[in-house]
Symmetry: C2
Subunit: 368 residues, 2 copies
Amino acid sequence: MRVNSEDCRTIVDRGGDVEVIDQTRLPHQFLTLRLRSLADAANAIRNMVVRGAPLIGVTGAYGMALAMRESADDESIARASQLLEQTRPTAVDLRWSLERMSALLAALPRAQRAGAAYAEAGRIAEESVAMSSRIGEHGLALIEARRRADGPVNILTHCNAGWLAAVDWGTALAPVFKAHRAGIPLHVWVDETRPRNQGASLTAWELAMEGIAHTVIADNAGGHLMQHGRVDLCLVGSDRVTRSGDVCNKIGTYLKALAAKDNGVPFYAVMPSSTIDWRIRDGLREIPIEQRGEREVTHICGATESGAIETVRLTPAGSAAANFGFDVTPAHLITAIVTEAGICQASERELSALFPDRARAERAKAYG
Amino acid sequence: MRVNSEDCRTIVDRGGDVEVIDQTRLPHQFLTLRLRSLADAANAIRNMVVRGAPLIGVTGAYGMALAMRESADDESIARASQLLEQTRPTAVDLRWSLERMSALLAALPRAQRAGAAYAEAGRIAEESVAMSSRIGEHGLALIEARRRADGPVNILTHCNAGWLAAVDWGTALAPVFKAHRAGIPLHVWVDETRPRNQGASLTAWELAMEGIAHTVIADNAGGHLMQHGRVDLCLVGSDRVTRSGDVCNKIGTYLKALAAKDNGVPFYAVMPSSTIDWRIRDGLREIPIEQRGEREVTHICGATESGAIETVRLTPAGSAAANFGFDVTPAHLITAIVTEAGICQASERELSALFPDRARAERAKAYG
């Protein structure tokens, strides 16, 4: 997508080093960063220089490639995969890409591993872009169906599931970008998404760069807007979906889904199939919820009047804080799930019907 | 309540000038401010130097007294009442106290008005303290009922409905202070309450000053905590309650009430009877929702490492923001309403039974 009118991706192979956008600096500064080692890749994921389930998956794949450049023996494959998987516990795309990379590399002679790893990571990235684009086309139909004569379609989104969360196009925002380019008048309510403010900093920035009308709101405001008919549909991404359709996503998603249900507003979860964890059924019991440092709640970073980036403390010095990264929205609150293969109900029956091979293979892996 | 171990109130008559705590500086600085004129009082309410429905009401009463000191003619009564009422549109306590002051003053000779105004404002303040204390006693029973053998009672609260929102004791936090002093082990989940962060800055500070265990959380986190059994009850204040029991409170309250209902967690709204607007029934249609400036969403204020107070911008420079101050929680999501007269269901029948005289008089005023 566009950054100052130039096409851009979140992650690019620069002849062995891997270039990413430093997302901790947005929206105030647009800077790229070179990952030169396995440790760099792990730190970039852990410190949320890169984030978003699909992009974490692709960065994990390139992390394996960087590891192979350092050492291509069997132990290095296992060590790199383990190190990378431990960086973030909730998103399942990372596990999916690490398993794919490990299986491929283990079957090759050592001398071929580094080259093959870069090629495979590149394929995963290209597949991600293609999936995002197809997701966008499917979701576009949902927006088109809500087109109205009296003004723009009002879409509410939580966190950032735009192209910054993927390689390009994004997940929940891919339909928004496609609809905008198709000429459908749109307006997006952007949840700021405390504590890390990915909505206020990343989603707002993406939409501004594409010229899409949007308004940033406190996370508290969505229910009020839905009560007053000011939201036509909700689009959110996901970090892990169970095979029964429970949707784990950024903390606060569940509250918006409750409000959508209470007010008859369609609530769509949008993700590539790599985000579906076929091995589990009960999202509330089986998905590990990452707890991050309390400083992300007690402090916040922004730009001062003079343009300097400054961190300020919000809470009394002695007060504790808790920082849960995600919550789980039960399947019955999800109107439908949008994937690269199409749209279906959030249920085991419909998800398995949409992805019969994947469902079968993953269950065989888990139980076989 | 206590500030650095000394008893303190939010508003005090200092021989004609009125001293208030500057709540925009907390939790980083504890400063008081003198209101010397009607204009000072109106600005203090408008700029949220003082806030919270009961305290706004008392400040309005003192604003009328300051106006009488300036000029005690009939026009001054009308002008002061109108100016003060327009400062904040949602809380109804302000209208209640201005009507009480205006009726009293209009019936007096001009020479007696200033003295009588200070005396009446003082009575309203004392009545507020007594009401908060009784509210605290009634609410204490609800906390006592949830006492558990395996740890503290976990209470979730939104915004600040503590003593800083009243004159002393508070509304939703009055039961918490009473329960703590009664020796019941407590832990409070404090919603930070974007965009103005009254939870993170005021509620956390009050609880710290009283030595009550608490944890600040993003507004997004409450649903997740309730899904996992980590909230025993919710206590929130209110800015206006309809006679049918719809509760208008700080934006985001409705989302927490939905989550409480979905997880079987009791959800109590706590307020003095001056917060009940007997003239209206349908909260969603009839309560005006204040919209404040977008800068409260796009910028935030906090303390730097060096202790300086600094404001930083959170959003991209070109992104719009919207700032709705309140939302309405329909009566069916409220487990019970707690007032100085006792506890009742959020329904017209039970509210009228608890306050038969007030209900009758206010309806007569509206329709008579």
